[in-house]
Subunit: 358 residues, 2 copies
């Protein structure tokens, strides 16, 4: 029955064509480009995007492919905001407070002096209204921002001399950028900015008297402990959150399942970066304190902390009085901090105090 | 040209049939059943599975559908281990320490007296070897276990009288189940078990002198603060992790993308439950401390804490000497705790101490 065979054969050809077309429609592959602030192979900070891209690829069965360009490629480590806004890149991984010169209200979504620790801040983001406020700040710029991983609480920095009073801070040359630098200036220190590659020599030769960098995981290899033995505890970045940036138009074109996959990959990569940072700090501090037993860990005296806290409040008041959205964010953070810290104090703090060997 | 039209029409029919068949093959829907320990609509604990199932459904575009049965349905709140092991259910949501009577080494994956706080424990799970040890314990039982959400640090409980010395604990009738109850017995108290519905009356009438429940988020509605004003800070569950259980054979039959989707949904739901618990405790403590200003928050005196810590170590030594795997887990936890707590002490603890209003 040749006619029937011909019919069947033609039908099969059509079927394959049709099927291939249909599969291509439902299995459309989305290729997105991500620019990160960090150099290639930066530990912890650079792992967040890699983990995120791998998860998104696996969960989407290859339908979401994210290429990562590090700073050596795009040459604009502090241009991520603009490149994702314009659509030159679809995604970014950076830190919100880098954009405060451009959009002042982006300052509040990394970490604030005397503010929330990482876990308190995650609760504020996801349960206390933080995500909605961040969207308010970023949406007018064709951007969405998501928590991008916490690099853990940052140390107050390395000092060549002990700080016993506010007097000891007067005229002290310290490398400390951004808002924390403004606070330091307000209490009498002289904040300066120095390229990372010149920090060690500047500290060694006395061009600066002190510097803040990150914490043990990043500080160990810099070697500051060899030349500035006083390691001050945290005040200015109690829980530094990075960010994933998304071009809003690109986001809106993704099918719903890929949006959820992307957002979920952000969250797991962020959480994973936080546990990685905790683990790395613990390991590096174990090494550092064993190899350099002369490091002297110090808290700033209450007089200094009070002055820095007063300066922080004054700067925030200034910002709040100039901008209703700044006021809304600052008040939201302050109210949430007051509420959750009361709980942290009788739970984690009480437990850590009771079990401390110090 | 009727022949061509007929051919085309037949081809189309075949094409649709073929396409429908092909779609069914690649879009196979997996329906899994999950049994949870909790009753229906239990806040926080019960939200973890709901969030997880929703995420898995959305990310898989409907290919992974998880039905949740609460305790009122399956009638076996403490039978989750057996039901998932046997395949009666594919998944479970419960807590690892509930199985210590059945498999003693499951004890170590919820929270240990004088052990790690939530963030330290997550670092141990994901970076310090905890996941591999948990697999060693569960795999022989045809089960996989994943962190299922942290209910935050638990308070030491409600006491009718202040505890000023070890003497005050002698013969004290306290509701405190499990391993922590064994510790309490070793220092002279009399741990008793009482059904949740009878706790308030038992405490009011003096059948018991004290009880531990959870923390403000769960304690507020129980009303213990009205009849036992001393609220003791944490010692026995510094970071209580729940668990997702998976039948290993079911897991192995899932395609790779759905395995990653499921594992990722577990992680996000777990992390989300932790921020939810933090937020809920902060809110409930704000309400509780405002409405009941006579609550007296107390730390156990050092003499009592030292005795409880010594008792804990003695019980752990006993377990380690009976079972090489128990020894391996206990040592892994102890070494990781020593390392990471040294960092926590100079980072979060130092920061919280310096900023405390207490």
């Amino acid at each position: 029955m040749p006619t029937l065979r011909l019919l069947f054969s033609a039908a099969l050809s059509f079927a394959f064509l049709f099927n291939a077309f249909s599969a291509a429609a439902s299995e459309k592959v989305y290729r997105l480009k991500l620019a990160e602030t960090w150099g290639p192979n930066t530990p912890i900070l650079g792992d967040a995007s890699k983990n995120m891209a791998k998860l998104a690829n696996e969960m989407s069965n290859g339908r979401l492919i994210i290429r990562i360009d590090s700073a050596n490629k795009h040459k604009a480590p502090l241009g991520i905001f603009d490149m994702v806004k314009s659509g030159q890149y679809d995604l970014g991984h950076s830190s919100s407070y880098y954009w405060k010169g451009k959009v002042p209200n982006t300052l509040y979504f990394s970490s604030m002096p005397f503010g929330m620790i990482s876990t308190e801040q995650y609760a504020w983001f996801y349960r206390g209204g933080g995500m909605a406020l961040m969207e308010k700040v970023y949406a007018p710029h064709n951007l969405l921002s998501f928590p991008g991983g916490n690099s853990d609480i940052q140390m107050g920095g390395w000092f060549k001399k002990e700080i016993n009073s506010l007097d000891d801070l007067q005229g002290l040359k310290i490398r400390i950028p951004g808002f924390a630098g403004e606070v330091m200036a307000k209490v009498g220190a002289k904040p300066v900015n120095i390229a990372p590659g010149e920090l060690y020599t500047s500290l060694e030769r006395g061009t600066i008297d002190a510097l803040e960098w990150v914490g043990p995981a990043f500080d160990l290899r810099m070697g500051f402990q060899k030349i500035a033995p006083y390691y001050y505890t945290a005040w200015h970045e109690p829980g530094s959150e990075t960010q994933f940036l998304v071009n809003k138009k690109v986001w809106e074109k993704l099918p719903a399942d890929l949006q959820t996959i992307l957002e979920t990959a952000f969250r797991v990569a962020a959480f994973d970066m936080y546990t990685q940072a905790l683990d790395a700090n613990a390991n590096s501090w174990a090494t550092m304190s064993a190899e350099y037993p002369d490091i002297k860990v110090r808290d700033f005296p209450p007089e200094v902390l009070n002055a820095m806290q007063t300066a922080t409040q004054a700067l925030l008041q200034e910002q709040a009085s100039n901008d209703p959205l700044a006021k809304e964010i600052i008040e939201s953070q302050q109210q949430y901090l007051n509420k959750i810290r009361a709980w942290t104090d009788i739970s984690s703090k009480a437990y850590l105090d009771a079990n401390s060997n110090q």
